[in-house]
Structure formats: C-alpha cells, structure tokens
Amino acid sequence: MNRLAVRIAGPVVVGVLFVALWALAVWLFAMRPFVLPSPWAVAQSLWVDGPSLLGSLSFTLEVTLAALASAIVIGGLIAIAFSLSRLVEISFFPYVVILQVTPLIAIAPLLIIWVHIASAAAGGDDHPMVALLICAWIVAFFPIVANTTAGLNSADPNLLALFRLYGASRWRTLWLLRMPTALPYFLTGVRISGGLALIGAVAGEFVAGTGGAETGLAYRILEAQYRLLTARLFAALILLSLTGVVIYLALDQLSRLILRRWHESAAGGESE
C-alpha cells in the first residue's frame, strides 16, 4: 500500500514541479507565447481546440489501430510461414529487415505516389488514409514478425521429439506446441507494435500532409507550427502522448490477461 502510494505520488510530484518550473520560466523571462506558451495557455487551448483536436485524434487513432490490426494478422501469418519452412525464412527474412531499417520518412513519398496512381486508376477518390495505413503498417509489423518467429522456433526440443514420436503432423505441432510457445513472444511484439503504429501514422501524415476534410493530429501540429499557434501545438502533443500511453497500457493489460494462467512473467508480477 505504502509502495503503491509512492509509485503514484512520485511521478505526480515530479510532474507538478515540472509544470511549476515551466510557468516560472515563462513569467521570469517574459517568454513570448509563440516561443513558449504558459501552462495556462496550453490548458486553455486544450479546452478551446479540444473538440476539433479530438476529431483529428480519432482519425490518427483509426489509422493506428487499423495498421496495428493488419500488422498482427499479416505479421503473424508471415511468422507462421517462416516457422513452417526454414528455406522461406532464410530467403525472406533479410528483406523484412531491409524494409524495417529503411527510414519510413524516406519511403513515404514513394508510397503516396503509388497510392495516388492506384486510386486514380481505380477511378475512385484519392485515399490518403491508405498511404498512411501502409506507412504505419511498415513500422508496426516488424516486431510482430521478429518476436513471433523467435517464439515459434523456441519450442522445447524434447517436446518436439515427443510430438514426432506420437506421429504429429507439422500443422498439429504448430497448433498444439509452437503457437502456445510463441504466444508470450507474440504479445511482446504486439505491445511494441502498438506504440510504433502510432509513430508510423504520425510520421506518415507529416509527409503525406493529407489536407482535405479529414486530417489527423500530425497535420494539426504542422498547421499550428505554420501559424505559430504554439499553445495548440502543445495541446496536440499532449493528446498524442496520452494516446500512446493509453495504447501501451491497454495492450499491456490485455497480454497480462491472456497470459495470466501460465506464463511466468505475468504470474510473477513486475518483471520488465
């Protein structure tokens, strides 16, 4: 109980001190609002611009969650393909890594051109969201592929021998042994990917600069920058960080729930 109090009080004290110092600095050095707005001005902006910022946030969140979902499905399937065939893994893994290490910001313009051409060819409207989705997916899928592949390949060799002894097919072994073994690895990948999908969605939007009726938080940040509405910029940043934290906590809670019954890191409490 005492420990819990410290764990909550500690960060709160630091936060309050930080905001106080910030306010003091603004007042002492007579900061101009577009350089550093006061905490109060940021709070006001949150209140006034909040509704429209939340609308943008929901767009960013939509992209993030869609990217995360497709990263889970496609990343999981890629990992399963890798675990079923060593040849496939050896042949394709380097390209997965290349896709991962190439800076997203550098790929994004290319993606935007392609998506634009593709949607024009399809005769439909331009869908900037698709480009953003692909951007976010590219950053999000790697941890899932890498972790899940490692998990699928780390089944106990003796259990694998036992499965062979009882004549288990490759699919039966995958289903009864490799997939349960990989579950904690996979969930770690998902937790990392949740944060990365948000980063990808924001970074993609910086490059794509959606415009139009539907805009995400990244575009609002750029807009605030051009118009030197620094307080609004701060408000958008705060919303983004909070979103990241909420995504992390939600995924963390979800994986604890799933693993509660058997995995030691979950059973043992705090191990990370």
């Binding site: 106990d156 003796n158 259990l159 021998a161 036992l162 499965f163 062979r164 002894l165 009882y166 004549g167 288990a168 039966r172 009864l176 042994l177 349960p180 579950l183 019954r261 058997w262 995995h263 030691e264 059973a267």
Partner: protein, 271 residues
C-alpha cells in the same frame, strides 16, 4: 486399471524379443563417435537398465530405439503391434526425458492427454485412461493444476503418466530421476516398480546409478565410455515384488558390488 498389452500365443509370445539391435553405431557430423557396435536383444516384459558413465551414448541409443535419430550403421528392429505411422500414432512407445518436458500452458490432465490430442482422439475412453494414469502415478486431486504449481517430483510423475496413458509396449526412460532429490527419487523408484509389476511393459531405463539399476531392473547392460559399447550383460535375479527391505538384503548388496566392479572396468579399462 488398464489391462496389460494384448499378447496372443501365451508364453512363447511373452519371451519373444520386442527389440533387436544389431551392430548399431552412431557418429555425429562433428566427428564425435557416440556408439560403436551395439548388439542387444530385449525380450517382452523385461526391465532393462542401460548403465554407464555420462556421455557414453546411452541417451543416443534410446533416441535410436524411439526412431528419433537414425543409426549411422546397423539395424534396430522393433516388434510392436501395427506398422509404420499407424504404430507410432497409436503410442506403442512411451518416452520420459530427464526433464519433465511438460507444456506449461496446459493442466495436468491436458498434458497427460497429449498423445490423444495429437491423434485427435479425445473420447470418453481416452479421458478415462488419462484419469487412470494420473491416479496410477499418485496425482489424483491435481488434475487441474498447472505444471508450475507442482514440485519437481510431481512434474516427473505427470511426465510418466503421459508416457503410460497409451499403455505402451515399450517404455523408454532417459535418466528420469537424475534431477530429483534422494527422497523423491526413492519414492518414484518404488512407484515405477509397482507400475511395472502391474502392467508389465518392456522398459529401457537409462541411468548412471548402480543402486537404482539393481533395485529396479531384471537385467543390466553396462556401457563403456565413448564410444559406447555394451561391456557386460547382467541378469538381476532379485525376487519380485521388491520393497525397501530388498535394499538391505545380501543378494542386493552382492549384486551392487559386482555391477560396480563391471562399471569400474567399463570406465577404466575400456578405451
């Protein structure tokens, strides 16, 4: 209770060999020669201990018998019910490793049911057999426990129950009690003996303990250090049922002495 494996033909079938190894050798890609020219015939219902120093290829031999590793030379012939894949899927061979090798995400019951789950046979009969195997190893009441909630000895019991659940003709045990404390090991020795006396499966038991091999088996094959060869084949004539008192009988002590001497020769003079 499960019935003993159905053997037609009475006494003659009882004594027919279940396993015949002829000139079995094994060397690995890294040049290590694990086994050199193993000849061994095991009769149905025997409890054979493979006794030898660490690294003499005992475990490799067991894996060859189980079909998990092919021999480099020689033949390994098993006479079991059925043939080929069907024989394997039916679980005619049970295997117990040095570690319990359980699935941590499954309950005791589900771990024991594994051979049936693999074969997609999960009927009432299979569940009853699992329950009976769990009772036979003394784990009644722990059906829904997870492996991490059990002690090391209890986990090993689950592992044995899993090997027994298909009522195998041949039970392969690879130093199953080596990692356990002395008290637990003695208790499990007695339980294993009792299971063997009730069901009479053929057992190949790998160990490096002289006392364990003499107490448990009907026959001991002593193996030399790498490359493994069988240097002595000793019949253990101690009467059944054996109990703790057997351990203090003069025959037991004399057998331990002679087996120790053979083991000493195998380790020292061999190569």
């Amino acid at each position: 209770m499960l019935s003993a494996p159905a053997v037609s033909g009475g006494c003659s079938a009882e004594t027919a060999p279940i396993l015949e190894l002829r000139g079995v050798a094994k060397h690995f890609a890294n040049g290590v020669e694990a086994l050199a020219g193993i000849d061994l015939t095991v009769k149905r219902g025997e409890f054979l201990s493979l006794l030898g120093p660490s690294g003499c290829g005992k475990s490799t031999l067991l894996r060859i018998v189980a079909g998990l590793t092919p021999p480099s030379r020689g033949t390994c012939h098993l006479t079991l019910e059925g043939q080929g894949r069907a024989r394997v899927a039916a679980g005619r061979i049970g295997f117990v490793f040095q570690d319990p090798t359980l699935m941590p995400w499954s309950t005791v019951t589900n771990n024991v049911l594994l051979p049936f789950r693999i074969a997609r046979r999960l009927g009432v009969a299979e569940r009853e057999r699992a329950a009976s195997a769990i009772r036979a190893v003394g784990l009644a009441g722990f059906e829904h426990a997870y492996p991490r909630e059990l002690s090391g000895g209890m986990r090993m019991r689950v592992s044995i129950a899993r090997a027994l659940v298909t009522d195998p003709d041949l039970l392969l045990l690879d130093e199953p009690f080596a990692a356990l404390d002395e008290i637990t090991r003695l208790a499990l020795n007695d339980d294993l003996l009792q299971l063997w006396e009730e069901r009479r499966p053929t057992i190949l038991f790998v160990t490096h303990s002289v006392f364990e091999s003499v107490y448990l088996s009907t026959r001991i094959a002593v193996m030399t250090a790498r490359p493994g060869r069988i240097s002595a084949d000793i019949a253990v004539g101690l009467a059944h049922p054996r109990q703790r008192a057997t351990r203090s009988s003069p025959e037991y002590v004399a057998l331990c002495d002679s087996v120790s001497a053979e083991l000493g020769k195998a380790m020292g003079g061999g190569s």
